[in-house]
Symmetry: C2
Subunit: 157 residues, 2 copies
């Protein structure tokens, strides 16, 4: 069943968020942006998402001010997180932590978010597991975890 | 374009979470469960979601162990959050807070999560804005905010 993008009759804050980031793949695009993915082709290769879907989702995210187009190297534009996009970090972190806790990958997490200052992992409430402090996005580093390596990216047609 | 429920090629924790709670309406059902909604008819009236969609989403959530069926009053079963479902609280809170911050409802939030001990609102990282402590789900109370009242529920066919 195809459902409309909006949530008729719902006026809560969660439904307003889901109208922007509740589409399939959208939060994975935002997650990739946190991990440094910038170019259309990189998103397409990294996510193996149909290009038409990626185009639609990037349009939604730029239209909503979550991502913005910026000049990249050469003639290509890149996508970067705005302040509004960076503010999605607690949601991305919480959903990632939940998946890791209840549906762990064999061998452990593929990527781990750590506090740049001391190298310790960040817990699901965004606190450093070593110093206990709340870690802002700017002080986070994504490092490879013990889990399986990602599959080789699909060739870009 | 209809996309499959799974995210082919993605093995990250976020994609595993989204396979369960990334379907349209699913997180709103979980949010309602946090706010005390228990019966099928109450979810249907509160969310104005097509009953076929609600049936599908509740089946997904019970199948994944996020909700469980429990004996209710009379012959009707009710749905309750499991420990795995309660663990979704940081995600529900973060996405709600983001919607409230960047797409505020006219007049303010319709519902506010407060710390039962001192009645102060909880911030988007789950800390009490008065005492500064981290507030577990069991110590949360949902109270009406200054925002618009919800629309009258649609009649249940």
């Amino acid at each position: 069943m195809t459902l409309p993008r909006d949530y008729g009759g719902q006026s809560c804050a969660l439904s307003r968020s889901m109208e922007i980031v509740g589409e399939r793949w959208t939060l994975l695009i935002v997650r990739d942006a946190f991990q440094g993915v910038r170019r259309f082709g990189e998103f397409a290769a990294h996510l193996s998402v149909p290009r038409a879907v990626l185009t639609d989702r990037l349009a939604t995210l730029t239209g909503a001010g979550v991502l913005e187009r910026r000049p990249g190297a050469g003639r290509r534009e890149v996508y970067g997180l705005t302040a509004k996009g960076i503010a999605l970090w607690p949601a991305v972190r919480a959903l990632s932590a939940w998946g890791e806790r209840f549906h762990p990958a064999e061998g452990g997490a593929r990527r781990v978010y750590v506090h740049a200052a001391d190298g310790a992992p960040v817990d699901e409430d965004g606190r450093c597991t070593a110093c206990g402090g709340h870690v802002p996005v700017a002080d986070l580093v994504v490092v490879p975890g013990p889990g399986p390596r990602p599959p080789a990216p699909a060739p870009i047609p």
